[in-house]
């Protein structure tokens, strides 16, 4: 795979608190120059990012209920609508992991179907972050079923919020998700990704990375 092909896999990501608008503008200019798939930033920074990325092949991606996922469905839907209004073209929503682990799937049904609709109505895509480091194999499979049931575009492994998580995303996470979603559904590997080639080999169609440039340059 050449550099340009690899760049199409990358969601160039910065999700720490306190990033300035000036920094994000530069970050987006660089991402655009590298033709990354998207730039993934916090909702408050969607407007300045959209200004830079509008009309380019690099999409504006943001995160909903991030990184805890513990909001009620109506709040997640409201947040998704607002970020799309601000210019987001891709929405990465954290599933309600607590509800999933509690077997309260009706909550997950409501939030996923609502946010999928909010996205698809406006031509945006939804990536569902299922937080594999907190789930059993059985729960990962259940999350994939929920994603398929509601027409999620891409299943994303993890928030990568390391202060809260016991581990990074593994190649096995990606393989397991790939096995339980349709071929047309994407898989995004995110959260401490080091071996990009292995993730793509395992079925990842996107890579969330804070160091996209180093990845495409093979560093």
């Amino acid at each position: 795979m050449n550099k340009a092909e690899l760049a199409k896999y990358i969601d160039q990501t910065i999700l720490k608190p306190g990033v300035t608008e000036e920094f994000v503008e530069k970050f987006c200019e660089d991402a655009k120059a590298n033709a990354f798939a998207s730039v993934c930033i916090l909702p408050t920074l969607v407007k300045p990012a959209a200004k830079i990325l509008k009309g380019s092949e690099t999409k504006v991606c943001t995160v909903i209920s991030f990184p805890l996922g513990m909001d009620v469905p109506a709040v997640k839907i409201q947040e998704a609508k607002e970020v799309i209004e601000h210019g987001a073209e891709e929405v990465d929503m954290v599933i309600n992991v607590g509800a999933l682990k509690s077997g309260e799937y009706a909550i997950n049904d409501e939030e996923i179907s609502g946010v999928v609709k909010a996205c698809h109505d406006k031509g945006a895509i939804l990536k569902l972050i299922i937080e594999t480091p907190l789930l059993t194999e059985e729960q990962i499979i259940k999350a994939c079923e929920l994603a398929e049931k509601h027409g999620v575009d891409i299943v994303k492994t993890s928030t990568g919020f390391s202060a809260m998580l016991p581990r990074s995303t593994s190649v096995d996470d990606v393989k397991l998700i790939r096995k339980h979603v349709k071929a047309a559904t994407g898989v995004k590997a995110a959260g401490g990704i080091r071996k990009t080639a292995a993730m793509i080999e395992a079925g990842a169609t996107r890579i969330g990375a804070s160091a996209g440039e180093a990845i495409i340059n093979g560093l």
């Binding site: 608190p17 300035t20 608008e21 408050t44 805890l68 996922g69 513990m70 009620v72 709040v75 601000h86």
Partner: protein, 219 residues
């Protein structure tokens, strides 16, 4: 004067902390345990509020939840929706993160204006503004606190607590400047009885901790 067990206990915001995405049963067990203590409030993430508010209220206890937490990256309407939902579900207090990206970008007026609609929901309740002290210079910390005071927050909350330790200087800085006009809650890294006593001596009148039981039981 010596700091007593009750002095510490009654100013603690008790949270489950270390357990990411707990099940409903795990949160409920934690909340039940707090009923045996005289904490200021029990904290749960927004989704869990409605499942636990009645139990706490029936026992004369109060509940707090978090808004735009922990990254301070949510957009205005989403924040407002989240706050309204939390109050409707039974929250007594709110810990609200300011837009830290806008603040770092120097947009102080925006930071203030953006929180005004949320403050209209206050109606005598305690709202605390999370200002990310760890990311700010001493002058910026005081500037953020000024904004909080002007908005009518009773408290500022130093940090979110994820991977950040609040210093005694951060606490005394607020105490020295604002006295009782704007109280300060120490959040992040308070793990022992000694930590708590030191924070109180530095001027904290609330302490957020997930080590609540351990701290109080060690007196």
């Amino acid at each position: 004067m010596a700091v007593t067990r009750l002095d510490v206990e009654r100013i603690i915001d008790a949270s489950l902390g270390a357990t990411p995405a707990p099940t409903l049963a795990e949160v409920n067990a934690f909340v039940k345990k707090t009923l045996n203590y005289n904490f200021a409030v029990t904290l749960t993430e927004p989704f869990y509020v409605k499942y636990n508010a009645d139990l706490l209220h029936a026992n004369g206890k109060q509940l707090v939840t978090v808004i735009s937490y922990p990254l301070g990256g949510m957009t205005p309407k989403a924040k407002l929706a989240q706050a309204k939902q939390a109050l409707k579900d039974g929250a007594d207090e709110l810990d609200i993160a300011m837009d830290i990206s806008a603040f770092m970008s120097g947009k102080y007026d925006y930071v203030k204006e953006e929180l005004k609609p949320v403050m209209e929901l206050q109606e005598g309740r305690i709202f605390k503004m999370i200002y990310f002290a760890d990311l700010l210079t001493a002058d910026q910390q005081l500037k953020a606190c000024e904004i909080a005071a002007e908005l009518g927050f009773q408290y500022v909350k130093t940090n979110t607590g994820y991977g950040v330790v609040t210093t005694l200087e951060q606490v005394s800085r607020v105490r020295d400047r604002f006295g009782d006009d704007l109280k300060v809650m120490a959040s992040g890294g308070v793990r022992t009885k000694e930590d708590a006593i030191n924070m109180i001596k530095a001027g904290a009148t609330r302490i957020a901790t997930s080590a609540s039981f351990k701290i109080v039981d060690s007196f």
